[in-house]
Amino acid sequence: MSTSSIIVSASPHIHADRTSKKIMYDVVIALIPAFLISIYIFGFGALIVTSVAIISCLLFEYLIQKYLLKTTISIGDGSALITGILLAFNLPSNLPLWMVIVGSLVAIGIAKMSFGGLGFNIFNPALVGRVFLLISFPVQMTSWPTVLENNTVFADAVTGATPLGIIKDGLMMGETMTDLSSKLPSQMEMFLGMTGGSLGEMSALALILGGLYLLIRKVISWHIPVTMLGTMAAMTGIFWLINPEQYVNPLFHILTGGAILGAFFMATDLVTSPMTKKGMVVFAVGIGVITVVIRLFGAYPEGVSFAILIMNAFVPLINSNFKPRRFGAPIKSKIIK
């Protein structure tokens, strides 16, 4: 026999057939229901904004890898695609397209590639892009087209506030929850997504469907979404029980804004979340608390993106302080010796 074709390498000799690419494309699949709903609600605008975000994210990654870093091109790995989709999901569907492109440049160029590319970034790239736009262009970033009435018109959409925005402004004007209730969408409307807001955060139902897919495919574990939403529910629940005229109920908090999108898709980003189950729980409690503090007491009506970015910064610390339980506690007598 010929032994020239025999290779020798260290064990293990077999490998599971799960790859990073498959994981990334599972996330993309999980985002499809929410994308379809947003096209249904916002029409052409949602499609255009998402396409522009995806194309510019891929293009910027390509250009940076080819001309600045001069490394191998890896835009096919699916991660820039996800960044594009998630960035678009956090934008109003009528945002000027040049802003979408600027947001993509910040997301990919600053938040991802300048840290070293896939796996090295500390902050969630899509959220960095979103927050950059929110701070730079607050007016455009908080003008949302009203729902369904104009889903075939892109340019001259009438703008309406988000449910969280209605509450924030109303409470600042001295109104109570009873006064505000007529201006708010019903919980069923919010669950299905028939409210104002960023294009992908609309339908809790579609997002939960996607989240369940990720859980079933074991791309994410329950720890982050359940803990984060649970913390939000518990904290807002306490305030609501104390004074229901000043604070809205927990279910409202979970169904509005970016809570569900954040819990299933943004906070669970593999690269920027902790690597142990204990760490994930700590991380998610932090996000829940910060979100609620911003929503109830901060200047912004919504705080999920800020909360996730703040907790992203703590991930290295969490990783080194919440380690997995090591097998076999040592015998003390032997340590002394």
Binding site: M1, T3, S5, I6, I7, V8, S9, A10, S11, P12, H13, I14, H15, A16, R18, T19, S20, K22, I23, D77, S79, G117, L118, G119, F120, L270, V271, T272, S273, P274, M275, T276, K277, K323, P324, R325, R326, F327, G328, A329, P330, I331, K334, I335
Partner: protein
Amino acid sequence: MLKTFQLGGIHPPENKLTAEKSIQKMAIPKVVYVPIAQNIGIPSEIIVAVKDTVEIGQLIAKSGGFVSSNIHSPVAGIVTKLDKIVDTSGYKKQCIVIRTDEKNLSNFEKIIYPLKTNIELSSTEILQRIADFGIVGLGGATFPSHVKLHINPDKKIEYLIINGVECEPYLTADHRLMLEKSAEIIVGIKILMSALQLKKAIIGIENNKKDAIALFKNLTQNESKIQVASLKVKYPQGSEKQLISALLKREVPKNGLPPDIGVIVHNVGTIFAIYEAVQHNKPLTERVVTVTGKNLKNPANFWVKIGTPISDLIKEVGGLPEGTRKIINGGPMMGKAIKNTDVPITKGTSGILVIAEEEASRKKTENCIRCGECVFVCPMGLEPHLLMSLAERGLFERALAEDVNSCIQCGSCSYVCPSNRPLLDYIRFGKNSVKNLTLIQN
């Protein structure tokens, strides 16, 4: 609920192709190559010379120290060479080459030992016999059994655990042995229990061997001291520490050994070898080997004389198939890849696995996406991604502080990594460097 260990673990495809195939006796090889380094620890010392005539079972290399073992001739024949040959470790090792005497009828006698249940030897005699007859751990680790059985008097042993898990994919040697030699294994267990005055024994078998579980449950119906436990299928349950944790929920301390928590563990193959040594005066000169692979014509289980070249076994199963890319001594998770088939079977060879390109080749290493899979599957609660990066950067002291030495090298981390990162390679490098570091410091 089936028992299993708590931390980590993986579920690779089982591929037990030979589970239904009874163990065949291999023909006596024309030449045997008996390496003298067949156990963990000190190699044995050769006590024969070229041109010596040796009988079956004659001592040919004696124990080189406490953690060492005797080696006996697997055949009757003439020592033709004392040479260095490449063994399964990949290194050249001293080896006794014996040409089988084809006229010596003892080579071809078919000895069928009747089951012998009454134990005549005393405790000390049993332990002496195990040491004299070259018994080592046959699960693959080849740790000399008499060392394992030499219990410090201040340790109280409660349980003897019999490892019939065989969690490596493809391998079926232990499974077949349990089915075909169950009564002998029960006697072997009793021998060890009487030698160490133990009150409880547990046979741990994974639930993919239901026939073996049923058989042993049946045989132990009237044995109040021997239990049979069926375990959930999960790799690496056959590892001593994981098996104890699954059966007793006790964890071997990271700076300790099983006797520290009142347990000793022996593989079923070792138990059978002890039975033969004690009851039938037979030294360890042959073992069961699974020869398997998806592309082999007739994958099979064999009784093989120690020292038989692997090529003889491959011939027996229909030759190396076209497109073979890897030949592995052992299972696919922890076995060692070997360069060619001239290497002989040793006491630690539980299987020979032949795999083709699609399974054998490693895929391109990509960036770590920090998914944490390696952490979730590590049965020792380590952080493989961290240990790899520490080893990569030469930070061995930190690797030591992060318990790199607790790694049992099961390969679960490398198996699951979606970015195909060579985690275990770097962890091994880290472990070795830590060892050298501590040697220098002392």
